[in-house]
Amino acid sequence: MNSPLTSVTLFHVGPVPITLPVVVTWAIMALLVLGGRLLTRKLSLVPSKTQAAFELIVDTVDSQIRETMRVEPGPYRAFIGTLFVFIFVANWSSLVPGVEPPTAHLETDAALALLVFVAVIWFGIRAVGMKGYLATFAFPSPIMIPLNFLESLTRTFSLLVRLFGNVMSGVFVIGIILSLAGLLVPIPLMALDLLTGAVQAYIFAILAMVFIAGVVSEGQPEPTPNLAPNPRTLP
């Protein structure tokens, strides 16, 4: 039985070993970037069927951000949307035969969790300034400074372990069942694995939103529902 903590080295670029999950990550990145380029090449105000379908995804991300963070989704759409779409595609990449999802390895998840850690600081400083961001550490009272500081580290770690544990356990269980029972038996488990993958992508994005919102939400106006018509479009 192979350890889930190690990964296969394919080749070396100079002194840097390039492992299989990294190559799969590159393939997913290329797929997403090229797909996004192709889809946004011919945007029109009256959307075609494909454009309407993908606008639905963007709309869903927007409404989730609006509901969870209680701010306008503009600055966060790109980051949260990319996180969700990447993790979703990565988790479901196990549908391709012979591909192991890159999120089943510790390094990919560590990179994603570090991105969230940096994004909290970045968005926090951008929204409330350096002073305001540092003040969030002393939020209820200055006694909480060590705990809040520790929390910002441990929640990053728990993001990493959550995604890694869920995806890796799916892959691991399928491997064990396959070696015990044989062909076609693990198919229900693979279906369950797809469900877990989708839910975990959602959870990761939601938690990233919650962490960012915890820093940003002070001093931002509440989102106004689109009830009032835009004055420029009125006759």
Partner: protein, 66 residues
Amino acid sequence: MNWLALASEGRAVAAAMDAIARQPESASTISRTLFVGLAMIETMAIYCLVIALLLLFANPLLKLTP
């Protein structure tokens, strides 16, 4: 520890069902909060698995003893 996670997940889902039955119009908010909460509880159970695999495959204690 896994039975703790199981028991608390059951309680959380039961409470969410109660809340949705009482206020069906807020089902989307409740289920979103439920999902996040369930993920938190699930992480506790997953930690056990990760620790077990660490002990199996990358045991730091074995390296200490010659």
